[in-house]
Amino acid sequence: MNVIEVKDLVKKFGNKKVINEINFKVEERKIFGFLGPSGAGKTTLIKMLIGEYSITSGEAYLFGEVPNKLNDEITSKISAVMDNFGLYERLTVYENMEVFANIYKVDKKEIDSILKKVELFDAKKTITSKLSKGMTQRLILARALINKPKLLFLDEPTSGLDPATSLKIHNLLFELKESGTTIFLTTHNMEEATKMCDEVALLHLGKIVEFGTPKDICMRHNKYNVFNVITKDNKELTFKSNKTDSKKLAKLIEDENVLSIHSSEPTLETVFIELTGKELV
């Protein structure tokens, strides 16, 4: 089942096309990544999908319904973590969760369980304005989980966070996926996308320039097809994928003279640079 379906979607601000006839589908229980540099149109796309921005032309569907005409049942299945979604700074961590638990009529016991998941249980009595950036980000994510969403939009969820906090968020997202949540995330972090996403779309100037699983995309752009080897005597050697070089490489391995061996397929980042001539910043 497709949770998100987008056909020839266009968004214009004045005469400028920020989203330019894009098409994609996101299947249930997948993590879908939208990748691109700042200004590529990632946030605009999420805002269109959650109904915050109108659609200039084309079609978009969430659970088969048009985004700004979703019924209450579908709305209650969707959550989002956006940079412009704030917290009540004078309230405690628990109280912030309680506000939304009351709105969604969720059992208060769920709050503790979610806070434990995002490792904020010990800070539940802390006033939100006193939280660190990483903790704030985790609280925003925790709040988005209060209604047990079937579809979760995440706009740059780990942007500006330290590696340890990013790892915690990644693990949580994997858990959510396992429990049946479809995740749509935007990022300009290629490592994050490669690690997290089942499918990615590379966005450049509002257009999708590449689409597929991270592995497939990298393999499609693997022009060189070579292996880089570092031997035990610290020599760097390159072997092509042909019979002659394969034998040489096999000999090195047989002689136990290989320190490391790497294939040469590009990363998502190098694919993006190759396709657009621009770096992902």
Partner: protein, 233 residues
């Protein structure tokens, strides 16, 4: 409109305001002034209750409503509420209910200085409720227009002075009186004066019509602004 959503917004506002010392101070400001002048000045000290009651209702309802909306817009909490399917009407009702109760409590602090009995209580609290509703709608309009809390305070001050003080100016000047007679704050000030000076209060259609007309005017202004700006614009 879902009552559970209104209830959630009401509880949220109570929790948040409990820790918002600056806004809570607004509810005590004019009762404190009234007590101060009441005990400082010996002659005709009851005039301060008449003067400060309509200003207090206006000041609390307008400033707090505008401040809450402006802050929620500024901090992005309003967006998260709207995303959680809170309808604007549910938001206004939940927030407005808190402000109404707090305004009633604030005005009740002045009650020991105003001798009242029987139906006078009914007219007194009815006046507070109707005036607070009109002021809250004005406050919501200000909240929609401004970008942040600072701007809300800046815009609320002149509105409070003009609409809240006009009954007092009208009592001193004939030209002001003609204008002030059209305002709900004047009608409430008149009710307060009748109670304070122990004059008989009778049901008057003119007063009712003034409240209704004021309500319609502020609501139309709010509606026009809302259509243009929306709640989280």
């Amino acid at each position: 409109m879902k009552i559970s959503h209104v209830n959630a917004i009401f509880k949220k506002t109570c929790l948040d305001m409990k820790r918002n010392k600056r806004q809570l101070f607004f509810f005590l400001l004019f009762p404190a002034f009234t007590y101060l002048f009441y005990f400082m000045i010996e002659d005709q000290h009851e005039v301060f209750s008449v003067m400060y009651l309509p200003i207090n209702v206006m000041f609390c309802s307008l400033n707090i409503m505008a401040g809450i909306i402006a802050e929620e817009k500024e901090k992005g909490t309003l967006r998260s509420l709207m995303f959680a399917n809170i309808k604007p009407i549910e938001y206004f009702f939940g927030t407005g209910l808190f402000i109404l109760i707090a305004t009633i409590l604030s005005c009740s602090l002045m009650v020991p200085l105003i001798p009242m009995e029987g139906m006078q209580f009914v007219y007194f609290y009815l006046g507070i409720i109707l005036s607070s509703i009109c002021s809250q709608i004005l406050g919501a309009t200000v909240g929609l227009v401004v970008k942040n809390q600072m701007a809300a305070n800046g815009l609320c001050a002149p509105i409070t002075i003009i609409i809240g003080m006009l009954p007092t100016f009208g009592a001193m000047n004939e030209a002001f009186k003609n204008v002030s007679e059209l305002l709900y704050t004047t009608k409430f000030a008149n009710t307060a004066a009748d109670i304070v000076y122990n004059q008989p209060i009778t049901f008057d259609w003119k007063v009712v019509l003034t409240y209704i007309a004021n309500f319609i005017v502020v609501f139309v202004i709010f509606h026009l602004v809302y259509k243009k700006k929306k709640l989280d614009d």
